[in-house]
């Protein structure tokens, strides 16, 4: 058993404990997510998709890596739930 000192990073939450209250932040988790999925250079958008476009099957397009995609969705779910 070892002491890891004051709680400051736990399950993706950055925790800052001050005398008058506690701050929580997920910046680090987000940054690591972007790095993991090579999206650090992407621009931010409120809605990450055009709002009026027609969607159908893209025959010529390369199929997505399913494992990677599912990992990404799972990470985003955790981000919103935690």
């Amino acid at each position: 058993m070892s002491m890891m000192g004051e709680l400051n990073y736990f399950l993706g939450l950055q925790i800052k404990q001050l005398n008058h209250g506690t701050f929580l932040s997920k910046t680090k988790y987000c940054k690591e997510l972007l790095k993991k999925f090579n999206m650090e250079s992407c621009k931010e958008r409120v809605t990450p998709m055009s709002t009026n476009c027609y969607l159908d099957l893209d025959d010529k397009g390369a199929s997505v890596d399913q494992t990677k995609f599912r990992g990404l969705i799972g990470s985003l779910l955790y981000l919103t739930a935690s």
């Binding site: 070892s2 002491m3 004051e6 400051n8 736990f10 939450l13 925790i15």
Partner: protein
Amino acid sequence: MNQFCEHMTFVSQTEPKIVAYAHNNWITAMHEELNQFARNEVWTLVPRTSKMNVIGTKWVFKNKLDEHGVIVRNKARLVAKGYNQEEGIDYGETYAPVARLEAVRLLLAYASMNRFKLHQMDVKSAFLNGYIDEEVYVSQPQGFEDHKHPNHVFKLKKALYGLKQAPRQWYERLSSFLLSHSYEEAKQIRHCLLRKHVLILF
């Protein structure tokens, strides 16, 4: 910089796939892991019989990174191939409760309200602490076979990483210890144990 280079020479930069490719640093890491086994009295060497369902073991090598992504430690973990376990013989119940996210948030809020300072603790090779009720046999770790009895197998007293019952047995060990030391389980949230001004979440 000097210190940095000095440190780098003690850490292997690559993760071997099998034991045969493992470098000196990894061999040290494997010894460290086996020391944990000895300390926890995980197993005893017994002769192999034909009735035993012997579960294989495997070394898993992982480089540990610091917050800047620099490799700081080579970690070797000996795991059991739990997928070869047979239900009813090698394991019974496997359900293990884990902390809910709501409980984490609640704990943070409660601590903040009462001006508690939260501290974090870590248990080394936690699963090696859980006692197992079933008779489970595992093969000798690759590269560390007993040269006098190469055909013997290990009979487990404690759980191993990879075994189906390992998380449950660890939960059992920790919670029964805490409950016997006059911690009380919070009624609504599992994994929140209280004693005066100490609140434990795991």
